[in-house]
Homo-oligomer: 497 residues x 2
């Protein structure tokens, strides 16, 4: 019995050792398992990424990659910041924009942007006219914005650019949006950091949001349109989103235009060719995407496609190296769409080709009408005035067209975020602009003033020698109509290129 | 031992009986297993379904169901042949069509069709103007067509309608397309039965097809556009598809229009309002769907959505009860799209709403331009002629617009078969039509002829008291612009409804 007990003890020990050995071996071969992140407290005022990076080094590393250019040739129509190192000039891509935006910064220099890393830096390098509005231009560019506006009051909004920039702590002066803008430092949950945006959402009746909605809103605090409020001296005194009358899932172009067309204190600039004081529409990604697009209705958020989950080492992270899925080899798409990537890419191209074709149609039609307005106004100075009924209706139609063209031109997906809505908006733009042309032609003809059958556009006048650096048209960057029809509407030789 | 042997024999017998019993029982409870169909020879000349029905009773039963109306209210914009028993009148749904098609049958009676069962019968019940072209109207309506055309020569094509009908064997006179049109009687493989269609495919360079392509082509032998060739006396002498210059996957609206605009012998009618001799475009489902639509590029064929596989008894059959998937509760869609049917239905509606809005825009813009042409021509008879340069360009643009409107209006999916292509085509239609208006307004104004700011359309003139039965406008059937903008372009009080 004594011996048996000993035997059992030895065998037990051996078995235990073998089990431990197997456990150790097997664990050594297994991939790194996800680990709980170490909890270090992030202070409330950590505007820069430094403190956050200590706790979330992988997300930080991926965010830093927005500094690097993307492989060239992957996106068909958004070629900004690729390894070809070419700065793509939207005014050369779409020459009608040079005519339509002539009168302020957007008509001088309007580039396809670089990565998120450069969002603030780009402001220093672009033509100074683009930051002429003053401190208000920092709204989407620095996590300090709301604090600065609170500290310095309305004064800050129209503060001269250099002075406004100097108010940002020096070490963070070049910093674009950071961890602080989208995350709570306490529990890493999503939050937004723009008072104006919160007010905008309240205006459409929303205060509480699901996590999936927040995965849109953190992006949308910048990727929305906004208007700058001006005082009588054209000083910037506020910002607002033109969402009156809209609701979540239905912020319509119709409502936006109705609002900005009416409201006087948001007419930020004067269009040279027509002399009209106008408002403007900026990158309306949220508005466009959430208006009954397939992907929105399927419950997809911005982050699903632009920040897909990736495995880094043993950790699964949300990729903070934001970009178009096209440039990321459709990594995000393939999570839901098992089709071949070539086919998906072709499908994106089919959608974007159709959108570009219609954008050219609507853009040039609006430009033609603008040039006829120029003629109407010139004649007016010489005492020949056309019927005010025709004129007023044409002016109204012209604005309806103009804002639609700006909307789709500024939206960053070339129609992809909501393909059929893009077609609808541009089709209406064409109708408004062409009807305006019809009324003006009639009005001038009645006064014996002949508008040539093909109205010349004098585009080189608007495209060359722009701004302090004398920027010129880059013909190799121009997008041609993928369907080859544009020339019928505006013959090449009348474009003045 | 003697006893043991007996025992074993009894036990063996009992076991065998039990096994047989279990086998019988279990088989009795199992579902019917698919069985090889019994091979009965189907004769080569089995034009009617009778012989085929003996071998394929389930397919035949499902085909016969096209006789029954569908539950009402399931389709948003294609409400034909529902249990509400209302005959939906396309000219009331889209009043601009009554103006544009005035001058021949389509402007008199143009109904949303009933099921396939009625394809031939409907011809007897509609206004006789719709079969004025003669025997040629049977091309898609009877499996005897090619035989009749061969037997009676070109004569058959312009044979008076009643005489042509009488050439079909009496027992099959009411029969639409049948088994014979799509299947080989030898091995049930897919085939087509229209010489004109085969020639059309050869014209785009295709002779051999995969089975999946055949699952489109059997439908497409009718669901395509075609033109009727006329001799100098406007007698029908042939049929053709306007596909010159196109290729498989790229039969474009641009190529179709270039062809039919030029070719003289396919101008089938004269548009009353403008006096123009015009061609026409019919239900271009194949052309529209195969031009880089999402579903086409995904490898989907017509039969996948309109003839989904269903289990009947123990057999899996391709459902021959053809209909819109909307009316079939999205049965076919759910095989690839696991989303909730409510969401899918909403997505279809979003696409169709946008298409209808643009179709109204393009249709009314074309109608406005047509009415201004009427004025131009009226003035011409009074000796006032506008600039021929303006006139010719406007006429060309007008036709480009008109054919695009007809194309999308005749295509049976309200944009769904290729959503972004629908937007592109309609956007171009708007541009062509509105530019034509601009040139005409100018031309008339130069001659001191005033076109009212809102051109009246006199629609009730075209909509009421149509044809032998004096059909009237049915206001309750009119589709309103889902986005509420149409009234801005053509104010209601100027429509003359």
């Amino acid at each position: 019995m004594e011996l048996d007990k000993k035997k059992i003890a030895y065998i037990s020990l051996a078995v235990i050792l073998v089990i431990i050995f197997i456990f150790v071996i097997s664990d050594g071969c297994a991939p790194d398992r996800p680990e709980m992140v170490q909890v270090i407290e992030i202070p409330d005022d950590a505007y820069g990424p430094e403190e956050w990076a200590k706790v979330y080094p992988l997300e930080y590393e991926s965010w830093k990659k927005t500094k690097e250019p993307r492989p060239a040739g992957k996106s068909f129509y958004k070629k900004g910041w690729d390894t070809d190192r070419v700065i793509y000039d939207k005014l050369s891509e779409y020459p009608f924009m040079a005519l339509l935006f002539n009168g302020w910064g957007f008509g001088i220099e309007y580039n396809e942007p670089r990565g998120h890393w450069y969002m603030r830096i780009d402001q220093d390098e672009i033509d100074p006219s683009r930051v002429g509005a003053g401190g208000v231009c920092l709204n989407c560019k620095t996590p300090y914005m709301d604090d600065l506006a609170e500290k310095h009051g309305k004064e800050f909004l129209h503060m001269e650019w250099e002075k406004a920039i100097a108010k940002i702590p020096e070490e963070h002066r070049d910093l674009g949006s950071t961890c602080y803008d989208c995350h709570s430092n306490e529990d890493m949950s999503l939050r937004t950091n723009r008072k104006v945006f919160t007010e905008g959402l309240e205006c459409i009746g929303r205060k509480e949001f699901t996590r999936q909605e927040m995965r849109m809103l953190v992006c949308a605090q910048c990727h929305v349109t906004y208007n700058i409020q001006k005082d009588a001296n054209m000083k910037s005194v506020g910002i607002e989103h033109p969402w009156v009358g809209s609701s979540w899932g239905d912020i319509s172009i119709e409502n936006i235009i109705a609002y900005i067309k009416d409201k006087k204190n948001i007419k930020e600039w004067t269009q040279n060719v027509t002399g009209f004081k106008l408002a403007y529409i900026r990158h309306p990604e949220l508005e466009f995407f959430t208006r009954q697009s397939e992907h929105f209705n399927a419950g997809v958020a911005c982050a699903d496609c632009h920040m897909p989950y990736k495995v880094v080492g043993g950790s699964k992270i949300s990729d903070h190296n934001l970009m178009s899925p096209l440039k990321d080899d459709l990594h995000a798409c393939s999570k839901c769409h098992p089709q071949s990537k070539d086919r998906l890419r072709e499908q994106v191209k089919a959608i974007q080709d159709r959108t570009v074709s219609l954008l050219l149609r609507a853009g040039y039609q609006t430009a033609v009408t603008a040039k006829i307005f120029e003629q109407v106004h010139k004649n007016e100075t010489q005492g020949v005035k056309i019927s005010s009924s025709l004129y007023n209706r044409a002016k109204d139609f012209y604005q309806e067209a103009f804002y639609r063209v700006v909307f789709i031109g500024a939206e960053n997906s070339i129609g992809f975020h909501n393909p059929t809505e893009a077609g609808r908006i541009l089709g209406d733009a064409v109708n408004f602009a062409a009807r305006a042309e019809a009324l003006l032609r009639q009005g001038l003809a009645v006064k014996n003033i002949n508008v040539p059958e093909n109205q010349p556009l004098d585009l080189s006048k608007y495209l060359n020698n722009r701004g302090v650096r004398g920027l010129d048209f880059k013909p190799e960057q121009e997008f041609e109509d993928p369907f080859g029809l544009q020339n019928i509407f505006v013959p090449r030789f009348k474009m003045g290129l």
